[in-house]
Symmetry: D2
Subunit: 333 residues, 4 copies
């Protein structure tokens, strides 16, 4: 961390600051320039509150040089984290398909889709029970009943299940769920993240629509700081000025996140664009740049899905994507 002092900063106050910093176990190096004095802080600055220092009236600016996250940081944990879900490994060169409908609609629907995506190569069944919808008038999911139906599909097919949580008070309902998903709109629901830090299940953390990669890693850090180190990161598109797609899928996030962190990185091409015919090419692109898995919406009858239908594939289209991805994966290793 580098602290740039104001011109003519009061010397006594500067000494108070440097003393306080030394008390935080930091070594101090002061560089006096013509216009500015710079203080270099050497040591572990990840627990220093940058805003606190910036607020001092003797300080012009503060620049972080090392990352403010520790548990999620590859520098302190060079090996890939590998998460095992009932024998299905995620990360460390293992690749997984999370597939299923946007919303659980009925027993028949979820079991039929589970069987068909399993047959095509998916290992983990996704399905929304609690649905975050922009409009209070739109379908909000079957909620607790949807969770029950997912568990039936799990029994029927043996597939582990992943589904989204929307409120910390629902955690007890997720006891038999295999992976808990945090949606983009809750990426900075810090109370929820803290609670998930005490849960003994992998957390699938989606990047918020306007969140930087550093913020995504800080949200992972919230969960990991609580003791739960099994976090899967998910890129699902960010908000930009472009209107041809619902969001802009930021695939550079894949190699960058894998460089900065040891956590697995999964891509969701269905939600990113909101256009079913872009799922195939973007799934190939995600695999080609090193993703550890794909989350793909599959529906037995996409034209009748109760929500997010335009982005769902049919089981046949999904099977084609899996084959294409496997071909690409052979050739990038």
């Amino acid at each position: 961390m580098v602290v740039i002092l104001k011109n003519h900063a009061d010397q006594e106050r500067v000494e108070n600051l440097t003393k306080w910093l030394q008390d935080q176990n930091l070594r101090i190096n002061e560089v006096k320039g013509e216009y500015q004095t710079i203080i270099g802080l050497i040591g572990d600055t990840s627990r220093i509150d940058i805003d606190l220092i910036q607020s001092l009236d003797i300080v012009e600016d503060v620049k972080r040089i090392s990352e403010p996250y520790k548990c999620a940081n590859r520098n302190f944990h060079p090996d890939d984290t590998v998460i095992d879900v009932s024998g299905n490994k995620i990360g460390g060169g293992n690749f997984q398909y999370f597939a299923g409908p946007c919303s659980v609609e009925s027993r028949e629907q979820i079991i039929e889709i589970a069987k068909s995506v399993k047959a095509s190569g998916a290992n983990i069944l996704r399905g929304g029970a609690f649905k975050p919808r922009t409009s209070p008038y739109a379908f909000q999911g079957l909620r607790a009943e949807g969770l029950e139906l997912l568990l039936e599909a799990k029994k029927e097919t043996g597939m582990p299940i992943i589904t989204e949580i929307m409120d910390a008070s629902h955690i007890s309902l997720f006891e038999d769920v295999d992976i808990i998903q945090v949606g983009a709109r809750n990426m900075q629901n810090f109370e929820l993240l803290k609670e998930l830090g005490h849960v003994d299940k992998p957390i699938f953390l989606k990047r918020g629509l306007a969140n930087t990669l550093e913020e995504l890693l800080m949200s992972a850090e919230y969960i990991m700081a609580g003791g739960n180190e099994n976090v899967i990161l998910c890129e699902r598109g960010i908000r930009t000025f472009e209107t041809a797609t619902r969001n802009t899928l930021d695939l550079s996030a894949v190699p960058l996140l894998k460089e900065k962190s040891h956590l697995p990185v999964v891509v969701d091409p269905s939600h990113a664009s909101g256009i079913a015919r872009l799922v195939e090419p973007m799934a190939y692109a995600a695999a080609a740049c090193g993703a550890d898995g794909l989350m793909i919406e599959v529906h037995n009858n996409p034209s009748k899905a109760l929500c997010d239908g335009p982005q769902a594939l049919t089981p046949d289209q999904f099977a084609k994507v899996v084959k294409g991805v496997e071909n690409i994966r052979k050739h990038i290793q």
Copy 2:
């Protein structure tokens, strides 16, 4: 709503669609063009799920023509909503100052600031007890204890208080709080919004960092649809590519929100830029373009604030802003 059909769409399926739409109490008007057929829907389309229609394979595109919100819509409620908080009116030509520290830190601090902002013209005391922080290692607020201290300041000064809620499970702690604030990161925490729809207190709803005005109004609609019609909208800056300010304050939001909705609109110039010396000019600008109030961070010792210090004013600076704003308000009415 206008539905654009695909070229050569199957006629039977088109008839099924139009029949279904008629069952939703909509009148249908079909326009056949050279390349496209357009179906105009006439009637109340606010409860039609646009995604559902878009997902049909006979549909090329759907365009909304009227707004998808009802309770928050000025078309259906032409008069300004005026919210009364212990005699302090917000909206309908009344202007209020919400002032206080970012975080409640101690009894002395909050009471001292409360007295000083009251003396300068603030009517409502703000102060953070539960603090949403990007880093798990940053100060998270005094939480329940902070609420207690705010209530003491309320008793001492008679000022109504506003403070932020971060989780639906905390609602019972907010019983004596006068206005409940929903922060930018929770603007689409739909479970929280639903619960606040059943609360008998005004809700202060901040615009999310990457949310459109329509989404802000849809989130207000969530609260209002639950029965709580006392919602105050707050513009506090959006995320853009500009890095000189923390966020970009979108002041056009003020006249636009007041045109689209009858709800009061307050501006928070402190959080928007994150720079204390921009608070004064942006507060003047907000008042000049028609805001119904200002939320301003004030600290008795800004250079020591535990969070968000760089954006806080001293009580003297705040007093100057109030005088300037009052001068401007006289001249725009």
Copy 3:
């Protein structure tokens, strides 16, 4: 195009408007609703000025339904455009590598790089002579002298060359250049685009940093409307709030542009992120989602490049990328 009239619009003025629209060879279909009247326009609306209609005080809103570009539109030109540059085909299933240094620096440098990228599989040599730089104090390129050196490299190696133009007055200098590049900052330099419409050479048009895909296609339309139909589109990253990369590479643009237009689409992964170690994964991703080519910065000594060095590959790294891309291409066809 759909025109939504204001409530209670003056009937005589509405009739004037519909008469004028009919004079533009459009058929009119009026739909009267409870709150709004909608006029559907049927026929070729690509030459109708949407702003002109929107400006009428009887008009609430205008929504385009078909695209405002004709020459670049795949609807009117279903087959892929294939551009032949001295026997090197671009588009229609053909894939090309445009490689070379950011800036031409010397005769030795450009010839050495040309030879090495040719040996690795590049067919077209890129190199900047006129350099757009944010700072007036940064190296601006060798300009006319740089063009001369590129032409020498062309003679020496037989490779066609592509280089950037910054002003219409320089066109005569580009007589022996094979492909003229328009940079992101000039994508809407309309006077330049018009002049390039009269040039008998392919134009390589980079997407602007904040331009939509529709605007990119409209800029291609400027060139094509002037008679030059050989336009290559290039995605090179857009500006977002993310700061970990210089720009955000929008790969969804590749399948979308190829759906909307018949023109070839090339991706530039070097400029997008500004980070050399992201070039390889993003090049693979671009090939996997259907790009028609890659533009890659290669430098014989990346750590000494006079500009944009951090994003350049060494010749060896480039050779590895070509091999990887060819492997992926075999498996997506």
Copy 4:
């Protein structure tokens, strides 16, 4: 400038770098940390190419601490620049209205509007002769003929005129124009900026749709470095994800630009939102936060303007805005 070296950087190469930096008249201060070595550069770093240093393989990162612009920098030129256009002063506490139609359409039109805006308090007549339009099929302005008509309006009314240039080759046509405008899409047309550095007229430089304030100041620096110090900066809205307005007017830019630079700052509320009824509130806001002037579109018949009509005011509306702004200005001084 602070250079962060890579871990285990080769010592000989580090010494070469520090020697080279010393040759650039910089003092060097090296700070060795546990994980990183930081080199502080003391002296004038504005002419150091940050990309060049960043490209070195021994360098992890480079962070600028002082601004890369000199001529436009208030630190080196503390007093406000005041530009005098035929006795109308801009900057330094003087406020000017630039008003007129988007496009010059006819002799009668431009003279009628000129007279009416002059009567309402405008001092400088604006009008577009060369029009940048997204579509090649949209009206492109009367071009040279439009300039003639503007000059006639100048003769008739005595008002100085401002109009937009789109290409360096047109400069000779602008001989009798009083202020030359550079549009948002040409803010980084560096060849044009260089030419305007040799012109003896004030340049009105609009911020690009996706350009930072630093980039705007760097473009001003291009003009000033050529010898022309009379630059007026203009905020006219930036591109964001919000779709309710055409662009997002960034009013924080006003106090920030005035802090960073001594150049006058004018706001264009007409183009920013593209909605006429937002011009009045946003003009008030701009005046309230310290702008040095307003550029406002006025049309004698807004509903018939050939371009950008929806954002134009009638002369009566403009007169009302001038009165309101003058009231506000009295109260912020």
